[in-house]
């Protein structure tokens, strides 16, 4: 029976001549047109508009035309200390968040995986992620408050903080915003890693254990290599998020004190929507976009490397 089915599949009956004709190229163009038009409207048009703005001194007033300035906005970036400092702070912020979140997320996932309380605990851990970032910022703003903030009181009672609150010092404000981001987004990493852990092949683990490998060796030899693709997805998502999500930072510090938390997207927001210098803001946004795309491409290319492919 199986033989018969296979044979039938390999030698199908001749299709009617109308269906046998390969569709023309125009046919595919028609099929793709709605999607391309939609993509163009929501993505390509703003992208080219961004480039246009970055080459102009933009007037928002309908009565005043935009003025062509060529690459002047880009040239200004090189001498703008706050722009360069914004990059440095963004790297510090993103890398710190990434290390903490991946480390904690992985740890939590390993602890939770197949545990008796996995489902209820995962639900509880996911709660911060469900909160709008601006609300998270507001909640932590009050928790950190030097006068009535509970966390501030705890940290001062433990002697970790002196009289200055965590957001009130240039040396600790960055830590404050990293903690908030970690609190909110570690559950995402946990969730992704948990999904990855479910796909770690049990036969490989068992075979390795039969060979005498312990839990730690098993983790590094079998579990971690199988988790790489999942971790890469998590890192990619969070990296891009950190380049975009500034709601909590705006609420917590507004980029202060003394610009110590003014990561580049916060500076971009200030230039564009407080100072309404849209041309210069577009130049900043374009450089941010380019770097985000490059990082994205590097991470995506890592997926395709055979050494990082999931082992089945």
């Amino acid at each position: 029976m199986l033989q018969t089915l296979t044979t039938d599949f390999r030698t199908p009956r001749a299709a009617p001549s109308a269906l046998n004709t390969a569709p023309s190229q125009r046919y595919y163009v028609y099929l793709l047109a709605p999607a391309i038009l939609l993509l163009a409207a929501i993505s390509l048009y703003p992208f080219f508009w961004l480039i246009y703005m970055s080459l102009h001194q933009v007037s928002m007033s309908p009565n005043q035309p935009d003025v062509w300035v060529g690459l002047a906005n880009y040239a200004k970036l090189l001498s703008d200390k706050r722009y360069l400092e914004g990059w440095r702070l963004l790297v510090v912020y993103s890398v710190s968040c990434m290390i903490l979140q991946v480390g904690l997320g992985l740890l939590l996932a390993l602890v939770l995986n197949n545990s008796r309380w996995e489902k209820p605990l995962v639900t509880v851990f996911l709660m911060p992620m469900m909160m709008a970032p601006v609300i998270a910022g507001l909640v932590w703003f009050y928790l950190y408050n030097g006068t009535f903030g509970w966390y501030n009181w705890v940290l001062q009672s433990l002697g970790i903080l002196s009289g200055t609150s965590i957001l009130g010092s240039t040396s600790t404000a960055m830590i404050g915003i990293v903690v908030v981001d970690t609190w909110q987004w570690t559950p995402l990493i946990t969730l992704i890693v948990l999904a990855g852990l479910k796909r770690v092949p049990q036969d490989q683990l068992e075979a390795h254990m039969v060979d005498g490998a312990g839990a730690v060796r098993n983790f590094f030899a079998i579990v971690l290599p199988n988790l790489y693709p999942f971790l890469l997805i998590a890192v990619l998502l969070r990296f891009m998020d950190n380049f975009r999500f500034i709601d909590a930072i705006l609420r917590l510090t507004g980029g202060g004190p003394a610009n110590s938390t003014k990561v580049l997207p916060v500076y971009l927001f200030e230039v564009s929507f407080t100072n309404f210098n849209l041309g210069y803001g577009a130049a900043i946004a374009f450089t941010l976009l380019v770097v985000t795309i490059v990082i994205g491409m590097v991470l995506v290319s890592a997926f395709t490397q055979p050494s990082l492919q999931q082992k089945h």
Partner: protein, 508 residues
Amino acid sequence: MFRPIKGAVRRRVSRREFLQRGGALVAGLGAGGLIVGGGSTIVSTRVQAQSSDDAKWKQFSGSKLVFMSENTPPSFAIRDNLKAFYDLTGIDVEILTDDLPVVQQKVGIDLRGGSADFQLNYVQDKPIGAPFAEFYADMSKFIGDDSLPQDKDGYGAEAWFDNFLDACGYYYTRDRLVALPYDAAVACTFYRQDLFEKMTKDFEADYGYRLEFTKETTWKQVNDIAKFFKMMHEKDNSIPYGYAQHQGSFAWTTQLDIQRMLFAHGRWTDFNVDDKLGSRTPGKTNWGDPQSVLIMEKFKEQADNSHPDNLANGTLQLNTVYQAGQIAMQVQYHEFAASVEDPKTSAAAGGKTAYAPCPRGEPSWIVNGGEAVNGTNCGIGGIGINANASEDLQKAAWIFASWAVSTNNQFSVLKGLGGTPTRKSVLAIPEVGAARERPTAMPNALTFDAVYDYGILDPNFVLGPKIPKSNEYHQILASEVQKCLAGETSPEEACKAIQTQLDELNEA
């Protein structure tokens, strides 16, 4: 629980029909949403000069306006009282409120984008008025228009407290009136009289003069008081710190904090322009001169002796610190007296707090010549009309603006949530006069001696630079002053950095 009724005719809906109905529903909801969310509507009935007052008030009955405002007491109180306006005019007004930086962004996009989603705006003098002045309607065209209702107290400079109309009404020229004074936040000193009396002996032993605060008290004495209280706090932490600054995240309040100290010393200003009118081309800044460097040094010294959370405390947080009894003195905006005098939320209530003008300049700290004054700055919030709105919408908006700043309205706000009047006529009301003394039902009135009778008058009044790039200016100042206070730069470096950036900003 839910059973089909016996005998009922049930009809199966086909997938096509379902999609058709769904599509129609979505289209209907979308169209409805556009109509509802469209913001303003205008309905007008022509009136003549001879028409009755009632007809003039009601000429735009059925219209709808949107007012974007800061979340301050007058807007809350007026929102609570909108029915009275609706009954008077038939105009429906929606008041949206938010934090000032958000208001600034929203109205900025609306104004500069050529839209009129918010026909009425809260025009805070420097953050909103200075950069967007040209986008507001000239209100002088409505004043004296006999087809529109007019306030019996008028709208000229004499109707408002000194300098208020200049502060929020005029920008770079007196040919256009951009806004009418709507509310005011004027700086004055709040201090714990009970603690001052209790500790005066110790203080006198150390510093040789009484621990008290008068309009003659100088910034040098404030620094002494801050230092003394800090020393006492370190011995006994139940004793509060002496002072705290407004160096939290909002750039404008940070700038105001050092500005009043600078102005107190020889009436120093950032630019050599008409301080009340402002300038589109302010020229080179005075930052970096010996006077600014000296005051920056003293300001840093003050910060070092102040409450340690200086760099986290914005204006609101600072007031919370004072309410919590953690500092003995603050220079604060007079609108906060209501919260300080509320025994439910404040340890400084119940007659413990006294109010005085801002500290005076220390003569020995004046190096540029000039006099020592009680430098007093403020934020005067105006109400302005979006010039992108149609002529009829602008007239309807004028009716609301005129009503909102009327004496009766300001008086009711003062009695209710604790407003800050801008019309002189409010102070002439006997009930308000009586409220200036304890016990009072209008706590903000306790500050009126320091504010309206002294602080806002020349030569003490300083507005600060009204320049088109005022927001950039505030950011530069806040960043560099905070860096200095955090010990990252020296006072001289900070002043020079401000000078370089401001000159570049203004292409001077």
